[in-house]
């Protein structure tokens, strides 16, 4: 474990019961490596280590009988804070129909998340409508329709232009009395200007209360770039971190929150429609640190 590794670093030499700052530097180098192994982005790991450094050079750590545990404790606290502190409840402000837009790169779990979210919101007394605005991927709308049938939530998708379709999806909600509209969109790369422009336009015409970015927990260094670019282009309000049922350490979670300041509202923990859980920053911190 990280604590054991740091114990090794600190046990090598101690002068007059106090640690040498050089030992703390060595320990922090180890912490940096642990963060990088966990897929935290380089710039985010460096920034975090700098914040921890000043706390780690305090009397409390240098004079501690268990300095390794102290450093890990400080690390955990800093991580938890950056990840959002405590669980952030997902609220739906404004007059119905409230729009939630799902965005993200290809294969991140958007379509699945739309259906899970619809089921979750209905269990909270909402009347959701699912809108299938992904007209690119083969059988994308069919996938959403199948999931909608499984959970008993209506799916609407008519037309050939994703932007008009999304706007008309909101109109459909007004017509049927649905109070939440969850819009599924095509996977897209932040380096594809046409597709990012399309996402922006979908946002402009639907005026969502939330733009949720679905991100795969196994994403590596690219997570920080994706999060930053999507934030810039479509004003992400928060994240759904998917496939947390795997064993990826999930450093992407830190990269995403650190660079956008937006919370992770939910964790995707499986392929079934019930596999959506609230996200807990402290649990994630422990997972990242290993």
């Amino acid at each position: 474990t990280l604590t054991e590794r740091l114990d090794g670093v600190f046990s090598k030499l101690r002068k007059r019961g106090k640690l040498h700052p050089k030992q703390v530097d060595n320990a922090l180098a180890d912490v940096r490596t642990a963060l990088l192994e966990a897929d935290v982005a380089v710039e985010v790991a460096d920034d975090l280590v700098d914040r921890v450094r000043s706390r780690a050079l305090s009397e409390e750590v240098l004079k501690s009988l268990t300095p390794a545990q102290q450093v890990v404790k400080v690390m955990n606290e800093e991580l938890t804070v950056t990840l959002g502190g405590e669980h952030r409840p997902f609220t739906l402000p404004g007059a119905p129909p409230i729009v939630v837009l799902l965005a993200g790169v290809q294969g991140s779990g958007k379509t699945t998340a739309c259906a899970k979210l619809a089921k979750h919101l209905r269990s909270k007394g909402r009347r959701p409508l699912l809108v299938g605005a992904d007209l690119d991927r083969p059988a994308a709308v069919e996938q959403l329709r199948t999931l909608g049938r499984e959970i008993g939530v209506p799916v609407w998708s008519e037309g050939r232009d994703p932007i008009k379709l999304a706007k008309n999806g909101v109109k459909e909600a007004e017509r049927t009395g649905a109070d939440v509209v969850i819009i599924d969109t095509a996977g897209r790369l932040h380096v594809d200007p046409e597709m990012m422009k399309q996402a922006r336009r979908i946002k402009d015409v639907t005026k969502p209360a939330h733009v949720l970015m679905a991100c795969d927990a196994m994403t590596g260094q690219d997570a920080v770039i994706q999060a930053r670019e999507f934030m810039h282009d479509v004003d992400t309000t928060g994240f759904i971190l998917t496939k947390l049922d795997g064993d990826a350490r999930g450093g992407a979670a830190l990269s995403m929150t650190a660079v956008t300041g937006r919370p992770i509202f939910f964790a995707g923990t499986g392929e079934r429609m019930d596999d959506l859980e609230p996200f807990y920053p402290d649990r994630m911190a422990g997972r990242i640190l290993g």
């Binding site: 490596t33 990088l36 192994e37 966990a38 897929d39 982005a41 380089v42 790169v105 290809q106 294969g107 991140s108 779990g109 690119d136 991927r137 083969p138 059988a139 994308a140 069919e142 996938q143 329709r145 199948t146 999931l147 499984e150 790369l189 932040h190 380096v191 594809d192 795969d216 196994m218 994403t219 590596g220 260094q221 690219d222 997570a223 770039i225 994706q226 496939k243 049922d245 795997g246 064993d247 990826a248 350490r249 450093g251 992407a252 392929e271």
Partner: protein, 270 residues
Amino acid sequence: GLFHGGTTETTWQQLEDILLKADVGPKAASDMVQRVRADHPTGGNVIDTVRGEILSILGPDRPLALDGRLSVILVVGVNGSGKTTTIGKLAKRLVTEGRVVSVAAADTFRAAAGEQLEIWARVSGAQLIAQDRGADPGAVAFDAVKASEARGVDVLIVDTAGRLHTKQPLMDELSKIKRVIEKAGATVDETFLVLDAQTGQNGIAQARAFTDAVEITGVVLTKTDGSAKGGIVLAVREELGVPVRFVGVGERPDDLRPFDAGVFADRLLS
């Protein structure tokens, strides 16, 4: 270039950062920089040396060699990595080469998986072999072998459901699908692990688990049209000996290229 003005501690750190940001992994990045630094104490052709290191890790390119009787390609990987799309592209490539191709819809689990592959079959000119959703994937694979042999198919590509490698029953199911194909009288000539280029260090855990379950003969690295460099394939090659065979460069039928290590290395270092 980075090192042509001589070398400082900063330039070596910058080199390490380039490797780290490419998902090479912290230990591998640090080791590589140490090795190169020992050979170049005052700078010089450092980038060329690193490029050479990357090429030597990746090994020679291994083009697809499918011969004579029915060749079977099994396609596996975690959820959303790009398996079904890759199969569509590969099928199109093989049909264009004049082969008779069939694709088996052995993902009988996920919503609209069959419908998605059906569209790709039509686009690629391959024959589709499928059963209803919920059918046993082994049964679909068995059927597909028999039907492909009967129809004089040259290449059968088997699509499987995405699965996280941590789920042992799903990994066992994959081993069973492979055994069933062999029981049907065919050999699995290639088993491709489809890996998303944005995958971090978890990619090596994936590769290990899939190799244990079904012995991987190649990686298809997808979504290289994004900003991620896919450096995880270096560890996969070094630790498991599995080479990259193809790269996905987009979502359209022609967006599949045979792996070119030089192109990969240049992109990683850019």
